[in-house]
């Protein structure tokens, strides 16, 4: 990383705030950002985008600031590029790193800044129809009654002309128990030529809501950003806080946090495998998946107090830890479910009809996955060997020797196979972890109450956890009272959604539900 450091120093106005083996924080002029980013992206192996945060620091005398966090997988090194002093525009980076497309449009909407050179002029998070100059994340905006003045305006979609080309609008309300989003298919006969997805219907303004909240209140909200990735979001949030307080956690806490994260992965993956069957109307697969998921959620409820495992991870610790007897019981039940999984999964994998629908459907190319910063099973199914558990040393993952599960075809089948293999792995991890837990049994709860005076104000910190859908990143800055000043939530779904429309052209409309379910993205944590 020293070469990079030397390179950065050729820019005047560069300020190296921190540089050690794991982390670098470098402030610069926003005009230098495109060149520096382009240089970083040339490095091999290519660094991965973690998050992009705009923060209104006018009260601190910094104008608006932009934080761009990159992760260099081979060295497990994260680099935060900070561009300070942005007044009303910043240079767009989307053409250099297309993954930033949405983040920049979001910054335009919510901060009223302009991303100069961004190719797409449309709004993203705020649909047409809000009052003029409504930029809620600016600090001088106080939450008011704007929602009352929202008048739905026309959504803007590209035109496409030619003989036999039709547009098929679908949504935002869909037929089924699913979340809202609008899809516009451009079709010629059955095959899809192009797909536009209009999301952000469930946008509530959570990032603004978090501002000024205490850490405990914040946790309640963070766990409800996404219903089914509550542990991952909560963990990322707690990791950010713990970084700001600079505290070391006891091993038992790390152990049980890892167990919770893996339990979350297992119940989600199994449910998602079942849902993929629902996407092709294969009732038998769906029935088995949903039944296993239900059993896992009941286990969650019985031993951890919540079907979605909420409320267990707290800043500085873990709320309660099952004793050795309960751990044994959890282990027995999990092993039973793992055997059951092996029992029903062949029904799917050996079903010709299902296979034919899934193979070669909805292909995500490796280059697209890299350019768009796709994460999680979707990336790994397209040959990108990136699993945060393997590449970043945190929790108890180094002991488990996680290896990314990679498939190369990028189709629905590949995404299914990644989930199947990861589920097996996770069951194995859970077994190891629970056995360790029983041997090293300690206290029944670990909550540290004494760190609030250690929290560093006005400093950004990130937390990052591999959720069942990919890497969830939370970036946090606290004020001098220990309240949240800014919290940016970049969920895995947010990173992956832009890739979904790319995989649909060439397939037929009825394949869309299947493709969509194979990504199994959440709308809520994307829209926030």
């Amino acid at each position: 990383m020293l070469g990079l450091r030397d390179y950065l120093q050729i820019y005047t106005g560069i300020e190296i705030i921190k540089w050690d083996n794991q982390e670098g924080i470098v402030a610069m002029d926003s005009q230098d950002l495109p060149d520096i980013l382009a240089y970083c992206l040339e490095m091999k192996p290519r660094p991965i985008w973690l998050t992009h945060v705009v923060n209104d620091e006018r009260q601190l005398g910094n104008d608006f600031c932009l934080y761009l966090i990159l992760h260099f997988p081979d060295k497990d090194f994260t680099l935060t590029l900070v561009a300070k002093g942005i007044k009303d525009e910043f240079p767009s980076l989307s053409l250099i790193l297309p993954a930033l497309n949405w983040s920049e449009r979001e910054a335009q909407d919510l901060f009223g800044l302009r991303a100069v050179g961004h190719p797409d002029p449309r709004t993203l998070v705020l649909h047409p129809g809000w009052p003029k100059n409504f930029h809620p994340l600016r600090k001088d905006y106080k939450t008011g009654k704007e929602y009352k003045s929202f008048k739905r305006g026309p959504l803007v979609f590209p035109e496409m002309h030619g003989e036999g080309i039709f547009q098929v609008p679908v949504g935002p309300i869909h037929a089924g128990i699913i979340e809202p989003g609008h899809f516009r298919f451009y079709v010629i006969g059955e095959p899809v030529l192009h797909l536009e997805a209009q999301l952000f219907y469930t946008h509530k303004g959570i990032e603004k809501l978090l501002e000024g909240k205490s850490l405990e209140e914040g946790l309640l909200i963070i766990e409800r950003v996404c219903g089914v990735c509550a542990v991952s979001h909560g963990l990322a949030y707690c990791e950010a806080i713990e970084k700001l307080a600079n505290i070391e956690l006891p091993r038992q806490v790390l152990l049980w946090r890892t167990i919770l994260a893996e339990l979350e992965r297992v119940y989600n993956h199994i449910g998602d495998i079942g849902n993929m069957c629902a996407g092709v109307g294969f009732a038998l697969g769906n029935a088995n998946g949903s039944q296993s998921k239900e059993n896992l959620q009941r286990l969650n409820l019985e031993f951890f107090g919540h079907r979605f495992l909420r409320g267990m991870v707290v800043p500085g610790g873990i709320k309660s830890v099952p004793g050795p007897k309960d751990s044994q019981e959890i282990l027995n039940r999990l092993m039973e479910l793992a055997n059951d999984f092996e029992d029903w999964i062949p029904l799917l994998l050996e079903h010709d009809g299902f296979r034919q629908r899934a193979v070669t459907t909805g292909v995500l190319k490796t280059e697209s996955a890299i350019d768009l910063g796709v994460t999680g099973p979707a990336a790994r199914a397209s040959g990108v060997a990136y699993d945060w558990r393997e590449l970043h040393s945190h929790l108890l993952y180094p002991e488990l020797m996680v290896k990314s599960v990679v498939e190369h075809n990028g189709d629905v089948w590949a995404r299914l196979m990644v989930r199947v293999k990861e589920t097996r792995e996770s069951f194995r991890f859970l077994e190891t972890l629970l056995r360790k837990g029983m041997q090293e049994a300690g206290r029944s709860s670990y909550i540290m109450n004494t760190f609030s005076n250690k929290l560093i104000p006005w400093q950004g910190a990130w937390g990052c956890v591999e959720s069942p859908r990919g890497t969830d990143v939370i970036w946090l800055m606290l004020d001098d009272k220990g309240k949240i000043y800014r919290c940016r939530i970049r969920s895995a779904s947010y990173a992956n959604w832009p890739a979904v429309p790319l995989t649909v052209p060439g397939n037929i409309v009825p394949d869309f539900p299947l493709i969509n379910k194979s990504f199994e993205l959440c709308y809520s944590c994307c829209d926030r």
Binding site: Y147, P172, T202, K204, G205, I206, L220, S290
Partner: protein
Amino acid sequence: MWSILLRKLKMGSLTEKHEDSLIPHKSSDLPSNFRKSLQIRHLDCGSCNGCDWEMTALGNSLYDHQHFGIDFVASPRHADLLMCTGPGSTQLVNAAHETYEAMAKPKWVMAVGDCAIDGGVFKGAYASAGGIGKVLPVDIKVPGCPPKPDDMIKALLEFMGRKSVS
């Protein structure tokens, strides 16, 4: 084929019992003539997806809503009851109205989950109405974050004028 059958035979029926009889449920002005069949349309109004997944769970073999005569339908035109989740996010309000309007009368609305009831943890966010009641007329509330599938079944059976035992 044989392995599937064998597996099913070993497993037996998984569906749990929730009700004993069709006892008309008296309290309130809710209808009690839905004894045997109820058609529901789900409407996500900005939920975190937790409530919605629990609603999906009603369809698994352990709850199996269909054996109560309850079904989720694809169009609001076929529905008697709108099960709403989420605090009513602003950008969805129009679509929510349109969904409600599309239902034939008589029709009812159920607010599922704390945030549908009063905004829950999202109270005060700039793009949320703070409860579905601010958007649509709510008849029944099912609290919880999220309510467990059992609670939903109980509420649905009571709405239908049946008594549940769990």
